[in-house]
Symmetry: C2
Subunit: 547 residues, 2 copies
């Protein structure tokens, strides 16, 4: 055990006291507590025990009680990726790994603005700050909840809805401990030209001919969680597609004016625009557009929680990421986040595997408005490369092409990129399956193990690797996790009192709330004021109507 | 309502008092009780209520509380298949349908020998006797239980086992009310040449390298059920394949001597022989062959219940049907069913979608030994046509070919055929899918609606049509039943105390019981005695060893 004390005592770096030092995560010194417990003489048996206890907060290797032997994989890894601090003694190596992950940092409540991107995640992404990692995963799980709760079954008359009523949403998803409550479900009309995106029931009697559930608005309501976060957080989560990528082919890649603001040269992909703004008169779920639903709800919540410290966090995967960026832009462009005191509520987007949304002007306007977008991408995923094959932010002269030629197929990504590579995870098998590379759970796994460019992949949180296979087949077979394992018992069929197997009726779905028009009217008022204060458009946006 | 009383009073047939009259089921008169209640004046509302109550025992149409509207389909049907007693008044029609299914019959306990085939089901199959129908379905469900409980998941280290311990088997399958208890699980070695039949785990650490669970022996233990049955019933259920038919291609169609008896010209397909007789030294589940396991267990039970009225019922679907016939033949050939008193315990086989098992000599020997086989087949299923494409019981000169030429590819079906046709069920959509045509649940649905050759398809029991889609996609979409709906929640993954998703460990599987050799020795003694009493073989059967 002397070797361990030695390696600890020999560490030349002083304890880190500053916030987010740019030095390598792996070189960090232990916090005082851990250092003390590890410097005491102990048997290897004792180390095992301590490891198990520590593990609940930030295990990088295996739990001794788990059936998955992660240590095995970690051992494999230390051969594949030589590690500067590699010791021959296995226990020492594990202890060192734990120490590497120690961070001297203030709690989230004190640094939440930086974590939400106030400094454009400067110094937080490489090496990846562990507090930011936890937040990315937490918001990623809010987006994943849209998949885990969505009814994909075309034999169900509820196909295209959320399987759970809002009041039980987080409880049904075993996320009740998150401290959030659903405040509104969001719907969109499927009556637009994205035929491969929407789920349609094969049944003749269905809940709606047009609507598809598109996500939710939730608010942190638990006092402990609000204290931990340092603010009240409003989450908007947009649903995308789990693995199927057919909708990409439906994108026409044609840009159109994002007529939410004064500048007509700010343009977005027309399919995303339609999804966000189209509505269906006579449908109780989408007689208001997704846009109107989300703006009205956010206005309502900002008014309700007026005077509190608030953040708006928009999260989405795949097509949901496009909606996340679009709605974040919209809120800022409309001026919704400027509250009575004149303060600006920060708007942050956690985007996973998202496509490009608009042109270079759109990107510029997002930056100008102060929207913070963290884009988590897997280099093997094709979705972030579309649209914009012909002209995008990586090509030269994009600005020239766009401004001079009004070229309608020029796209640019918004925000800061967190670039991951699934081939770096030793838990995953090599595959060219585009669905796996696009999968949200795979992204969250990669975030968990990412430490920085060129850094060794090493799981940092206790996040379960089995989640990777929830909707795909990517984990190496030695972990014994079935592929595509997320499924309902008997596809949701239950035996009724007659003993017959039936898809049970669900509680009535809530349509638009009665006070929606009223809150939307307030949004329109902000917009009219901002337009009269220098906007080029005198009329209200064509996408918004209060009645 | 006058029309109903009229139609009842006008019925020219006298009340049926004899057992199993050959006249058309549909012409039967109502039993006294039903006739009384139906002759009273009543509102159509009341008829609805009475129908619902009656329905629990023998509904042919819909339950008013059910979400499936079977009446709709029944209406469709009455157009497709003109019905001699078709009335214009819908309620009257329904009442008549109920009356048609009335049977004046003694209870099962008095007629069980005939129902089990003592008179080769003479007069019971066309029209189909409703007591026999219920028994066919009941035994079919014992065979279906082998599928519903089997672990097919190659990612599970328990792949190839029964998912439930024997003590909880019927309870887990919601069959606790059947009044039976598992007495023994049956295993076979997969180390034979039927590569597409066995399920193998992809895992490195598995419960067994060789064994596959093949079914079970169960005994009626509930006193009410024994009273209802009129005897203690021993069920042997053999597992087959749910829908996949690949194993057919593995059959080499080559006959070999079924060396269980004295006559070497009695031959069976060599793959079935191997499956039934091969074993694996050193494997705790198949160091005894399936054959030895079942003979020893039946011997044990017959000794244990000596002096009681007993029946042996063997049931199986697909390849399980071949094992059912083979094991029934074996028990009779060995003389296992001749008990101390000299009485013969009747052996009955309910075979579903079974292939041919042996040659014409085999069939003859089965008949000679008094085994009763009821073969339920769907004319659209290919399995009952194999083996024996070249020579079978339908061709001329089979006896000549077999005896003179020792032709090794001549097969014959055993027993009485109940020939069903899925195209007669208005609940099923037209499809050429061979898996659907072979599916056991489809067969049980067809039994439920079958009344006799040329008779209208009409569901007789309260059996749920949703079961048809359990493992296939055959129900018309208007019933809103998902296809292939039988599945475990999250493929059996559960969250452990660490919050990780794992396939839970299962209780240790029981290997061969310690007293098996002892019971097998007793079987061998019977065999030696029967051989010395005129058998041509002086030695014991090569397939049987007591240690």
């Amino acid at each position: 055990m002397a070797s361990l004390s030695l390696s600890l005592n020999k560490n030349p770096n002083p304890p880190v006291t500053g916030l987010f030092p740019k030095q390598d995560n792996l070189n960090r010194l232990a916090t005082k507590t851990s250092a003390i417990s590890l410097n005491k003489p102990f048997s290897s048996k004792k180390l095992e025990n301590e490891k198990t206890t520590i593990m609940f907060t930030r295990s990088s290797v295996s739990s001794t009680t788990s059936t998955h032997d992660y240590r095995k994989s970690d051992a494999v890894l230390s051969h594949d990726h030589p590690h500067p601090h590699h010791h021959n003694h296995h226990h020492v190596d594990e202890a060192t790994l734990l120490l590497q992950n120690e961070e001297d940092e203030r709690p989230l409540r004190e640094i939440w603005r930086e974590i939400q991107g106030s400094n454009d995640w400067e110094g937080l992404v490489d090496p990846l700050n562990s507090c930011l990692r936890r937040e990315i995963i937490r918001y990623g799980e809010f987006a994943q909840a849209c998949y885990d709760s969505f009814d994909f079954d075309p034999n169900s008359k509820y196909c295209g809805t959320c399987k759970y009523p809002g009041a039980h949403f987080f409880e049904k998803l075993e996320m009740a401990d998150r401290g959030y409550k659903i405040s509104r479900y969001l719907y969109a009309t499927s009556n637009i030209n994205l035929p491969n995106f929407f789920q349609r029931s094969k049944m003749s009697s269905v809940w709606s001919q047009h609507a598809n559930w598109m996500g939710y608005v939730a608010v942190s309501t638990d006092e402990d969680e609000i204290r931990r976060l340092g603010r009240r957080d409003i989450v908007i989560a947009w649903r995308g597609t789990v693995t199927y990528l057919e909708w990409i082919c439906d994108l026409k890649d044609i840009l159109r004016s994002a007529d939410f603001g004064p500048d007509p040269t700010v343009k977005i992909e027309s399919g995303f625009y339609d999804l966000y703004t189209k509505k269906e008169r006579g449908c109780k779920y989408c007689s208001f557009s997704a846009r109107e639903q989300v703006l009205a709800e956010i206005k309502r919540l900002l008014d309700y929680y007026e005077g509190e410290e608030i953040s708006i966090t928009v999260t989405g995967h795949s097509l949901g990421s496009a909606l996340a960026i679009l709605s974040a832009y919209d809120m800022a462009e409309v001026g919704l986040n400027v509250v009575a005191s004149g303060k600006k509520v920060p708007i942050t987007v956690y985007s996973f595997a998202g496509p490009r949304v608009g042109n270079l002007k759109f990107k510029g306007r997002c930056d100008e408005l102060g929207i913070k977008v963290l884009r988590v991408v897997n280099v093997h995923d094709v979705v972030p490369t579309v649209p914009g094959i012909i002209a995008n932010e990586k090509r030269q002269f994009q600005k020239y092409i766009e401004e001079t030629m009004s070229f309608p197929w020029s796209y640019a990504h918004v925000g800061v990129e967190l670039r991951l590579d699934q081939s770096h995870s030793p838990f995953l098998k090599p595959t060219k399956d585009p669905g796996c590379a696009h999968n949200l759970e795979v992204h969250l796994h990669l975030v968990d193990g990412y430490h920085g460019k060129g850094k060794r992949f090493c799981l940092e949180t206790k996040r379960d690797i089995a989640l990777v296979n929830k909707n795909c087949d990517l984990l190496r077979s030695e972990y014994g996790v079935p592929s595509q394992w997320r499924q309902d018992e008997n596809k949701g069929m239950v035996r009724n009192t007659d003993g017959r197997w039936v898809l049970p009726e669900r509680p009535r779905l809530e349509g638009h709330p009665p006070d929606m028009a009223e809150h939307l009217e307030k949004v329109l008022m902000i917009k009219r004021n901002s337009n009269s204060n220098g906007g080029v458009h005198g009329t209200s946006s064509p996408g918004l109507e209060a009645s």
